[in-house]
């Protein structure tokens, strides 16, 4: 009993010394630091702002088939806002699609013939937007909605408590009905960045020791091989997690991505995903003999499938069945769904247990594979 306790303290001390060493490696290597912290931040900002949802002077078209006073008032309000410029005003909708295709206008507001107080209480404004840039489309919808809502409120105040009439905004989006936007983009970038950073750094850090020959020395030491692997992976787990927190804070406070669901659930799921990535890194490190190969394997091997098959840039539903099936083995796909659902939809664990189970299964399989490869090496 006493012996065992003593043994545990020794392992604990070895572990501590090892982890301190790993942190020295990381913090003394500017390249690692750059890849670890600067790269993700730059990527998030680049992707985030490249897909900015800020809107100024968007060209729109108004088709006023009603010629009522209300339609005129709303048109004026739209014109007065800094967000829109009414490039065209016509009385029929004939040329709408042509103009949109030519890129002359981003959206069309249509007042149907019977629009106005005189014709009835329920009124509909039609709004057609061009959806190839879903962020802009979404923003336009929101702003037009706000302007009309504001108009109704003014009318309400003019008439006391009685609502003179209601206006519905009927939205149709051309070319991108699913509305894939930057809000969806950010979770994808998070998944991609974590995948690449965790996998690459873990793989390279192990292979570097193999290349220098220090790995052999560690294996000859009384450190248990499994402890060597855990000690190599743990610092990167901690660093990746810190990294994730930075990315999440940036997403929320700089890019304005909402976090509707539980922060703790998101953190727990992220830890699982980081673990998956680390085991990928360990597996690659058992295959690669040089740092260059490890880098290539984890950067190229992960980057391309992640970009292609996560579904945040290219919608998976539009892909051939084979690729859809292939996408299932890309861990980032599942993590992307998890992050998206937690951040944007605010769902609980009950809705994402399947994705969680898949990620967990992948992690276990990868760990088993790495250990097997590792054992083979030790034969």
């Amino acid at each position: 009993m006493h012996h065992k306790k003593k043994n545990n303290t020794k392992i604990f001390k070895q572990f501590g010394a090892f982890i301190r060493k790993e942190f020295y490696h990381v913090f003394r290597d500017k390249r690692t630091l750059l890849v670890m912290f600067a790269l993700p931040a730059v990527q998030i900002l680049l992707f985030g702002f490249a897909l900015t949802n800020e809107l100024k002077n968007a060209n729109i078209m108004v088709v006023n088939q009603a010629s009522s006073i209300e339609s005129k008032e709303i048109t004026d309000k739209i014109e007065a806002s800094p967000f829109f410029t009414i490039k065209m005003a016509e009385h029929n909708a004939e040329n709408v699609e042509t103009y949109i295709k030519q890129g002359k206008i981003k959206a069309v507001v249509i007042f149907p013939e019977n629009f106005g107080r005189a014709t009835g209480k329920d009124n509909t404004v039609q709004l057609i937007t061009e959806g190839t840039d879903p962020n802009i489309a979404k923003t336009i919808i929101n702003y037009i909605n706000a302007i009309i809502g504001d108009y109704q409120l003014t009318e309400l105040n003019k008439n006391g408590t009685k609502m003179p009439f209601t206006i519905d905004v009927e939205v149709a989006m051309l070319y991108n009905p699913e509305l894939n936007g930057s809000m969806m983009f950010i979770p994808g970038v998070i998944a991609m960045v974590m995948m690449i950073v965790c996998t690459t750094l873990t793989a390279v850090s192990v292979v570097r020791e193999k290349e220098f020959g220090s790995f052999e020395v560690l294996l000859v030491s009384p450190l248990r091989p499994i402890l060597v692997l855990i000690s190599k992976a743990l610092p990167y787990f901690v660093l990746s997690f810190a990294n994730l927190i930075i990315i999440l804070l940036m997403s929320k406070y700089i890019l304005g991505v909402p976090l509707k669901g539980s922060v703790f659930l998101l953190m727990a799921e992220s830890m699982l995903f980081i673990l998956t990535c680390l085991t990928f890194g360990l597996l690659f490190s058992s295959i690669a003999e040089t740092q260059a190969v490890a880098m290539l394997l984890s950067m190229m091997g992960m980057l391309l499938p992640t970009i292609l098959f996560t579904g945040f840039i290219f919608p998976l539903e539009n892909m051939p069945t084979f690729y859809q099936w292939l996408a299932n083995i890309v861990p980032a796909k599942w993590y992307f769904i998890v992050v998206k659902d937690i951040m944007l939809k605010g769902v609980g664990f009950a809705s994402i247990w399947k994705e969680t189970a898949i990620l967990g299964g992948m992690t276990i399989t990868l760990t088993a594979l790495s250990l097997l490869k590792f054992k083979k090496r030790m034969q």
Partner: protein
């Protein structure tokens, strides 16, 4: 905890020998890397393990240092069975390889402390030994410098001192002086003699035949087998050679396996 003693022909192996190997064989598929080798290394001895590249030196060394298990045969290192007691072997040996000379991005002291802790040297003792070590190697001023900034010769000497920092029973040196100038090599061997005088058994592989002369005994491996073994003087006598290099040339000439 005292381990089981091994008695062969009335000789207590664990008492007499640091390394005891009999009919040791390691096969990788069809390839026999180590073919039925038998040898003993006495405690405190400096044992040179020579052979061309691909002769099986590295594999034999990996078995003896508890990294891999042999296919057949018997071997005891520091009194521990290479089949069943690899962990105990690892606790009782030191190891230094040609490629490795410590972590370049860690300071001298950080490197020493790391390996000391890995090998279970207590913090207080770690401090004291570090102080002595720095003094012996005359590295006091470099204590907090990164190892990467030291000249190669210093690194090698430091690496050796670190390999025996926990005072192992045996230290395995895998071509420790490759790439080092003759003067530093001489100094390096002074350190090896010091260790041997303190009772540490030294098991060393080398390419430099002049170094082989410094060993108490040497063995020459050819094609996975031990072709010759004895003190340098004995071998020179036997093969009527002027130096070990000639002995080596004579024996290695028959080698079929060339890397």
């Amino acid at each position: 905890m005292k381990h089981k003693e091994l008695i062969v022909d009335g000789v207590n192996i664990t008492d007499k020998y640091a390394i005891y190997a009999e009919n040791l064989t390691k096969k990788f598929g069809d390839f026999t890397a180590v073919n039925n080798i038998s040898f003993n290394v006495e405690k405190g001895e400096i044992f040179g393990f020579l052979g061309a590249n691909g002769a099986g030196k590295t594999t034999a060394m990996r078995i003896l240092s508890g990294l891999i298990k042999p296919t057949s045969g018997t071997a005891y290192v520091a009194g521990y069975d290479v089949y069943k007691e690899q962990e105990k072997i690892k606790n009782n040996i030191g190891y230094m390889s040609q490629k490795f000379s410590l972590y370049e991005d860690l300071t001298v002291v950080e490197n020493i402390k790391f390996y000391g802790t890995i090998y279970g040297v207590k913090p207080k003792e770690n401090k004291e030994r570090t102080f002595t070590l720095l003094e012996t190697l005359n590295l006091q001023n470099e204590a907090n410098k990164l190892v990467g900034s030291l000249p190669l010769g210093w690194k090698q000497k430091l690496a050796f001192s670190v390999a025996i920092f926990h005072i192992p029973k045996i230290v395995f040196l895998d071509e420790p002086t490759s790439g080092v100038d003759p003067i530093t090599r001489r100094q390096f061997w002074d350190l090896i003699y010091d260790a041997s005088n303190k009772g540490i058994t030294v098991f060393v592989t080398t390419h430099y035949m002049d170094e082989a002369e410094y060993c108490n005994r040497i063995s020459l491996m050819v094609d996975g087998k031990i072709a010759a073994m004895g003190s340098p003087a004995e071998l020179k006598n036997k093969y009527k050679a002027n130096d070990v290099n000639e002995v080596f040339y004579h024996l290695a000439h028959s080698a079929k396996r060339i890397e």
